[in-house]
């Protein structure tokens, strides 16, 4: 398999805080990778760093390679030609990620015309086809509507159509379902699933919802305080999480089977923001299994199973995992 995206030791610094501290990530062609973590874990910043969408106040370190090319070295023209054509992004809030003053058709065709060199009429025909693909009825007429005439779920479908327009090799979906109703969430995920399946598009799905991630992704990367704490195939991690944080995330997913607990278990405390102390495990203060070593030495990623790695001094054993 060939790697579409290789991220090596990515760091992102803002003037006062460090958002991402040494994240590595590899996405193969057609693969679905999930990045999961709480707010402030650096997952969205990682996604934006890959797209080179961070504001100029951010300092990005490490290496990002896309199909072997050095993304951090792209000049503005190369960047514009790359975004939209080879890589695309779906954002969290479909209410604000479409321009309120431009017709949906304009927003859909501008990428087609620029990247695929289509003429006005051809781009419009293609836009109609795309809108139909994402399940919007009466596509021909809806192209002339403005975003406010669409519901939230419909807008996210439009956004997905825009992202998929030029059949990119990789789509980064940053919390694409978070702003949507639960009933619509599944539809949007199915749509993403279908489109990426058809063109063998790789997907990076960023979410705080391990349930969403595990239903969609082949591989999972759990982030905490700007670092990856556990990574591996979805099935392995869901069946037997090694990191206490992953365990806690899994426990906090509501389940419909078995006895209903009165309250969902939560992770006490909140993740450190910005100044993460070095020389200790970032999760130590909230970890039920923390020991002295966790507070004096930062764990590094190490194999904990045949396919999984975790950054923990005391990974949960089979016995403790059940």
């Amino acid at each position: 398999m060939t790697a579409i995206l290789e991220v090596d030791d990515l760091t992102v610094d803002f003037s006062r805080t460090t958002a991402v501290r040494g994240v590595s990530l590899r996405v193969e062609a057609g693969e679905r990778v999930g990045i999961v973590g709480e707010s402030g874990s650096g997952k969205s910043v990682t996604a934006q760093a890959v797209m080179r969408l961070l504001p100029p106040t951010a300092t990005v370190g490490g290496r990002i390679r896309f199909a072997g090319q050095d993304v951090l070295g792209f000049d503005p023209a190369r960047l514009a030609a790359w975004r939209g054509a080879d890589i695309a992004m779906v954002f969290q809030d479909p209410m604000s990620s479409l321009n309120p003053l431009l017709r949906v058709g304009t927003q859909l065709t501008e990428g087609l015309r620029r990247h695929r060199g289509l003429g006005k009429a051809a781009a419009r025909a293609e836009a109609v086809r795309l809108l139909r693909t994402v399940g919007i009825d009466d596509a021909e007429r809806r192209l002339d509507d403005y975003p406010h005439a669409f519901s939230g779920g419909m807008r996210q479908r439009v956004c997905i159509a825009i992202a998929a327009a030029c059949t990119p090799k990789l789509i980064i979906a940053d919390e694409p379902t978070t702003a949507l109703d639960v009933t619509v969430q599944a539809q949007v995920l199915d749509l993403l699933d279908e489109l990426t399946e058809r063109h063998d598009t790789a997907t990076v799905l960023v979410s705080h919802d391990l349930g969403v991630i595990s239903s969609f992704c082949d591989r999972i990367m759990v982030m905490y305080a700007g670092q990856v704490v556990e990574a591996g195939p979805t099935d392995d991690i869901v069946a037997a999480p090694a990191h206490p944080y992953t365990r806690a995330l899994l426990d906090s997913i509501p389940r419909l089977d078995g006895d209903l607990p009165r309250r969902l278990p939560t992770v006490p405390g909140s993740p450190p923001f910005g100044n993460v102390p070095t020389g200790s495990c970032a999760f130590a203060d909230r970890c039920p299994h923390a020991q002295d070593r966790c507070r004096t030495e930062a764990p590094t990623m190490a194999p904990v199973g045949p396919n999984t790695t975790a950054a923990c001094h005391f990974p949960l054993t089979e016995g403790a995992r059940t």
């Binding site: 975004r83 695309a88 954002f91 479409l98 309120p100 003053l101 990428g111 403005y146 825009i162």
Partner: protein, 308 residues
């Protein structure tokens, strides 16, 4: 559209009626006797009384108000006290083109100076261009227009003879550049700040991130995706400014000796020329009301969300 107008036009008429009433009452409660001003300090009591009678000032204020409204209904704004035998309407219509030229040029200065400067400042916040803009707009906002006007007159007209000092004659544009610039300067500073704020907000917005993620070059992001969202709120204010300026800008027309509606109002107040004051105020209010209406219509054209 029609429903909108049907709702708004009666509102406008009510506002104008209120303005007429207020202007009429205020000019009559102000101390001072127009008849005495006309007759001069040495006039006899009889002369003053006869002037009173001529002007209809010996009747009750209610009756005078009624007569004024009836005249207004027939398109008659009355006759000036100070400018003998000059109908108020024709005096105002004569002054109006000058004020209109000044107003249009003033708004142009506001937009053409303010908006590009704001965009430039927002594009690299905290950098040199932004800091210079912040300082310049602070000065522009704080400097009183009459002082700026006098300064410009002194330097550019008196010292360097680049512009005429005062008045209004052919080629008219020469007489309009300095006053309109002075008029637009404060507004330009204000618009630069507003544009900067709106632009910063637009640049941070998800739809701009989305446009970038789509691979739109910066030029397209700025011009197609940002600028519309930045300009639509400014459109409202520019329209209101135009309406406000059209009624005559008293201070600037007085400083530059332009015989526009503002100067007319100023002189009329000096001579307690009641019909002229009321007429000028009515015209000023009329422009503000009309521009308000047009701005709302234009807003619906720019922003599809307002359209119904």
């Amino acid at each position: 559209m029609t429903r909108f107008l049907l709702r708004r036009i009666p509102q406008a008429v009510i506002v104008l009626f209120g303005v007429v009433t207020l202007a009429f009452v205020l000019t009559h409660v102000v101390p001072g006797d127009p008849a005495r001003l006309i007759a001069g300090p040495n006039a006899s009591v009889d002369t003053v009384a006869s002037i009173h009678h001529q002007l209809g000032l010996d009747r009750s204020i209610g009756y005078q108000y009624w007569r004024y409204l009836v005249g207004l209904f027939h398109g008659d704004l009355g006759t000036s006290y100070a400018l003998q035998d000059t109908p108020v309407a024709s005096a105002i219509l004569r002054a109006l083109p000058i004020s209109a030229a000044l107003a249009v040029l003033g708004v142009l200065w506001e937009a053409l100076l303010g908006i590009p400067v704001g965009i430039l400042a927002a594009y690299r916040p905290g950098k040199l261009a932004d800091r210079v803009t912040t300082l310049a707009t602070l000065v522009g906002l704080s400097a009183p227009p009459f002082w700026v006007g006098l300064l410009l007159l002194y330097v550019l007209a008196f010292k360097f003879n680049l512009f005429p000092l005062s008045g209004y004659a052919a080629p008219y544009i020469n007489y309009l550049i300095l006053p309109s610039f002075t008029l637009g300067l404060g507004g330009a500073a204000w618009y630069a700040r507003l544009t900067r704020t709106n632009m910063l907000e637009a640049l941070r917005s998800p739809y701009v991130q989305m446009a970038r993620a789509k691979g739109m070059p910066e030029r397209v992001v700025l011009l197609r995706h940002c600028l519309r969202n930045v300009l639509s709120p400014l459109l409202t204010m520019l329209g209101m400014d135009l309406g406000y300026f059209l009624g005559g800008v008293v201070v600037i027309e007085s400083v530059f000796g332009l015989p526009g509606a503002g100067k007319l109002t100023f002189d009329a107040i000096g001579t307690l020329d009641v019909p002229m004051i009321t007429g000028a105020v009515l015209f000023a209010a009329f422009f503000i009301v009309v521009m308000n209406l047009l701005v709302d219509l234009a807003y619906a054209l720019v922003d599809p969300r307002v359209r119904r």
